[in-house]
Symmetry: C2
Subunit: 430 residues, 2 copies
């Protein structure tokens, strides 16, 4: 079935089919929650093997998507995200194996306490249930999200974008067949065969009570819609207005290196720096060095009066710039009078995603790390480390800036909830 | 100002005032998040002292509520919940001191990992932000919820019911003055001075983005309304359809003791047993002993055919009985063919709150604890232990059956979220 045919289905049919997918996923989740680690890992290794065996077929499916992309005149950036190669397929397969190699997060004893009456109470990690993932053009999200949910004992309902329809279907088939080989229900990794908006709408309503959480992966307009309309919890970040604050006690060489890496290593990721704050009492040449290095690296700089005085190539920054996530080779530079003013700026204009202080003053670093209320706060390290892989989580299903349940990179541990197991010997309450 | 006057305020004024309360609480939350443990504890101890000093005034306020309750012809159960006494005031004051004595949950390092590049990443507990508590007639919730939120570094907006209006105001004044004595913002424990439904409506909408979570404390209709209408996360349980499963390998004496305590110690609490499941192959006299002991303790028993055959005093149970939270001296009894059938019954009819297996068979116990997907699962212990105090949490703000963030009794630890603190020495990402 091609995407074109599917999108012509009547809305009511899409709704009913999506709800049926939700119910199957819910049933699979119960089975998966009690599956041993070894069986889940077997499914992941089988899926990786199938990805390699079917590489040619996956590339053919991808070619169909690329041909449609050309016809639709998609942007080069989107086409790049969509394009698979033998190397990318191998990377996806290896990713599945890496997730299999992670310790099993289910059943971990998170805390134990013995009560005076002899009761032993354990807080034990259990799967969340059914995760809904709504994503756009990256076909690899199919494998990453599927693997992380499987590893954490959750069923997942994947709804990819129309641009990657055929590629995602081919990758999903490997996961489903991997589950089958391992004797696990295929519905544990379900895929919405509809690229329509109705499919998304049904997921946002929770698929008739079957979804426990939704993870949107894609641009700001997708995340914004999901955050506004979802009737189930959402793990997401709307944007990353990420700050690097160079303190008065910063090591100048470190500051320049970190600022350039945080901004320019990759400008399109959520951990890329968007605003540079510099303490007014930092060494006088440091502001000019920072701006010069950024411009030399190809970055456009917008700044306040002090920044413009330090380098005439700096364009004026408006109030709007402090709130902007450029996702591009542009940075806003502001000089602040104190550590407190830097924290105040971050709290006022930031997005609670990732923020960094560069300083050799431990007390200043401690204060920044404590008072900046972001999911990730760094001292003397690039903000581009805001990534589940870099954190050692194997992979991430997304980065969350919400305060409930998950925050920062969301890996298999945060895809779990917990329950209390109480061990007694006949105790009754007085 | 009396409640009567306040409820006559135009809706628009209530809305504006509630939003202003939210904004003040949000500002207070930021200050509180960084307050040292000692300062928060000082506020709690001062509040406890003030409760004792003002006991006579609190009792006078309570007398006003009781007079209104009499005029409104409230049920004896409601009047009992509402009534304060010198002993109850002392218990509330001691509760504040017990919360002060808990370890500070903020700043706990929940995990640390060192990456190959030398980065040290810590997951550190931080406050959630602003908690909204909507409750009915129990004035002590004012103190319990206020204390737990303060201890966990959260601001709280309390909206009590009209029945306990004066009592709650008097208790709240002690908390606010305790904050003031300790140099903390009074808005950290805010109280909605409106008993109107509009005040609740505004809280359910999140007070203009200032509430992070809502905790409803009260009857099923309140919880149901909050769960359906809240636009922010909710920690709650709608009901506790709590099971005691007596396995074939149960110790008979233990089984009888646990079943009677789980059902009859207090019948009106959420951890009270509502359904008794008994394995068909349990010792033949055990079913009759269980039923006899429950009836002797004053419990009405409804049961399936096997239960009725075991004791003629058992009334027939309908399908509806398996889904009913009686909160009364009534129990439904069913005989099941196997451990699997017991688990299936709990998963089909239960409310994922608290469930118990009575058995001497360790493997059966392990399977029940693993496969029953409830917030609290117990082996050979009364379900009436489902309580934050009994778990050693000092107190609880409520019991949650949701899967996100908090589950089971919610104490100060679950009133925290976390952030990642990353310590580097100039690391950049390749």
């Amino acid at each position: 079935m091609s995407a074109a045919v599917e999108t012509l289905k009547p809305e009511a049919d899409v709704r009913a089919a999506m709800r049926a997918i939700g119910r199957s996923a819910r049933a699979a989740a119960r089975e998966l929650a009690n599956a041993p680690a070894e069986q889940k890992n077997r499914a992941l290794h089988a899926a990786a093997r199938l990805m390699r065996e079917r590489a040619a077929a996956i590339l053919s499916a991808n070619a169909l998507d690329l041909a449609e992309a050309e016809a639709k005149d998609l942007s080069p950036a989107l086409v790049d995200r969509l394009t698979l190669s033998p190397a990318r397929i191998e990377a996806i397969a290896r990713g599945l194996e890496e997730v299999a190699d992670l310790p099993d997060p289910v059943g971990r004893v998170l805390a134990t306490f013995t009560r005076p009456n002899g009761l032993v109470i354990e807080r034990v990690a259990t799967p969340l249930g059914v995760v809904g993932v709504i994503y756009e053009s990256r076909p690899n999200v199919t494998a990453d999200a599927g693997a992380l949910c499987l590893k954490s004992g959750n069923a997942v309902v994947l709804r990819g974008g129309s641009d990657s329809f055929h590629s995602s279907a081919a990758i999903h088939a490997c996961l489903a067949d991997g589950l089958k080989e391992a004797g696990l229900p295929e519905a544990a990794i379900s895929r919405a065969p509809f690229a329509s908006r109705e499919a998304v709408g049904e997921m946002l309503k929770g698929l008739d009570g079957t979804l426990d959480v939704i993870v949107p992966r894609g641009g700001k307009s997708l995340v914004d819609r999901v955050q506004r309309e979802a009737r189930v919890p959402v793990f997401a970040h709307l944007e990353g207005v990420v700050h690097v604050y160079v303190d008065r006690a910063a090591d100048p060489e470190k500051a320049v290196r970190l600022a350039v890496n945080a901004k320019m290593r990759r400008t399109g990721i959520c951990g890329a720096a968007e605003t540079l704050l510099v303490h007014r009492a930092a060494p006088p040449s440091l502001l000019a060095s920072l701006i010069g290095a950024l411009i030399e690296a190809g970055c456009a700089v917008r700044g306040d009066r002090a920044a413009r005085e330090a380098d005439p190539r700096v364009a004026p920054a408006s109030e709007e710039d402090w709130r902007t996530e450029y996702l591009d080779a542009i940075i806003a530079v502001r000089v602040v009078d104190s550590l407190e003013a830097a924290i105040e700026h971050v709290e006022t204009y930031g997005s609670h995603h990732t923020d960094c202080i560069v300083t050799e003053d431990k007390a200043a670093a401690e204060r920044f790390l404590k008072e900046v209320d972001s999911a990730i706060v760094l001292h003397n390290a690039s903000t581009q480390f805001a990534d589940g892989g870099e954190f050692g989580f194997g992979a991430e299903i997304g980065i969350a800036t919400g305060r409930m349940h998950a925050r920062g990179p969301v890996g298999v541990e945060q895809l779990c909830t917990f329950k209390y197991r109480v061990h007694g010997d006949g105790q009754v309450r007085a």
